[in-house]
Amino acid sequence: MSRRLLVIGLDCATPQFIFGPDAFELPNLRALMRRGAWGTLESCHPPITVPAWAAMLSGKDPGTLGLYGFRNRRDHSYHAMDTADGAAVREPRVWDILSRQGKKCVALGVPQTYPVRPLNGWLVAGFLTPNEEAPYTYPGPLKDELRREIGPYMIDVKDFRTDDRAALLERLYALMENRFRHARYLLASKPWDFFMMVDMAIDRLHHAFWRFCDPAHPAYEPGNPFEHVFRDFYRAVDARVGELIAQAGSDTAVMVVSDHGARGMAGGVCVNQWLIREGLLTLKRPPDGRARIEDCPIDWVRTKAWSSGGYYARIFFNVEGREPLGQIPAAGYEAFRDDVAARLESMCGPDGRPLGNRALKPQDLYAQVTGIAPDLIVYWGNLRWRSVGSVGYDDIFTFENDTGPDDANHDYHGIFILDDRTGAGGRELQGLALPAVAPTMLRLMDVPVPADMPGQPIVEGQT
């Protein structure tokens, strides 16, 4: 058992680029795999940054956390939504538990850590920090220390939606280098037992460059100037990972994880447009061009469902006695939900063939359903299509993106690599899932796993 654990989080790092026969040449991650154990890591529902990192680090599923995406309904009114910031994570995360056990912790760039909360150590908040002026460190003076010693902290990539891919690529490298530079400084300057960082750059890379790198993508052009950016970027990340591992020392256990994977995106399904066509959503007047659904005048007495978009759809029902102008009788709720789910799952794509949608009920996914959950969570084309919440489209399907180019959607599996320094490694693990990660971290730190964490730690014999 190790007394120190270094966790390197690579948001959206994708199994096929790291484990499979077509994996890139990544000597440092390969060395970790040879010494330790690895496997694809099943994400949560939905497989999105929020709630996935919080689910991983609390050991609780999104329903128990009451986090169904980045924006969640505050109540059963029609418009009140809250951003799922750090305060929305009410279950203790690994560093909260370790802090109470006297372990010194560092957390850098982990999503949903702003506003910062105290820990026994040092924290730099993640990309939900509003701006550089915000108090994004704990303790507060750490911010000035980092600026003095390293320079400005890059919260996220700027101007992500652009057609100037070369400039974007430069900014993504800068983001990644900046995050690892902060990590190296904190690793060297703070006395830590548990160190965790998350880099977001690979996620942004996938969304911006998938069409250039994946021959299976409809927009792929052989010989394009960005054809090898995935390989080159992963190798650059691998080099930085290697530096951190070396700096941490050979007696430190190392875990590399991602919250979800990625896959090519075929297009978008205009979910609210579909609800309108199905007679489930009525606007008082058609929008003047494209419009966000929350900016449209919805005729609530003629509306049974509406949806938020993103990489998946969250469909909300207008239920009598629950929503202010509810139209679905409470007694008919389940029958209505089954009917809408069946309609969604039988939807055909533009080519007339079944799209392969999945329409899931939160009650079937989670141990508990807290907060205001969507009535249905929908993955279009099994996540091959994104969900367009805006209205004003002529068709249900779109191959445009109003906010700018985006070529990738999220996928169900991320990565897990662990070298626990017992020397008993070199094996692939099967059936890994997000709930196992937090108990494994606690076990490695010799701290008891709370009884309400349902996941089982990956025991020594497995690694």
């Binding site: 999105i48 995406g69 910031d85 010194k104 909360r117 026994n120 990309f127 509003p130 938020s308 906010t403």
Partner: protein, 114 residues
Amino acid sequence: MNRPYTIRLTGENAADAAHALGRRLVELGSNVCPPGQAPPAGFDGVVLLLGDAPSDAPAGGTVEISAHDTPDFAAEKILDILHENGVISLESEGYTPEEEEEIRKRLSDLGYID
């Protein structure tokens, strides 16, 4: 609070923790009387004492500072006690409306919401 609330910190790192606690209390808008100073007349804030004094049992009790805690985290644990006892209020500072809009736009640009 209309009279001083006195709390004693003991342990190897008590002085550092008292310093961190004093700074945090000031940030939270509370009056603090640091260790070694006498509170002025009419003082209604938090009085910090250091070290063992078995005959003196302050109203806020005595807190042993763990050698494993950073001074800042030790201070936060005491703030939790003060909050639970109604001495201070620890409200989480969320986004301002402007920040909320900034974040909403960023999430939209990144494709997370639509």
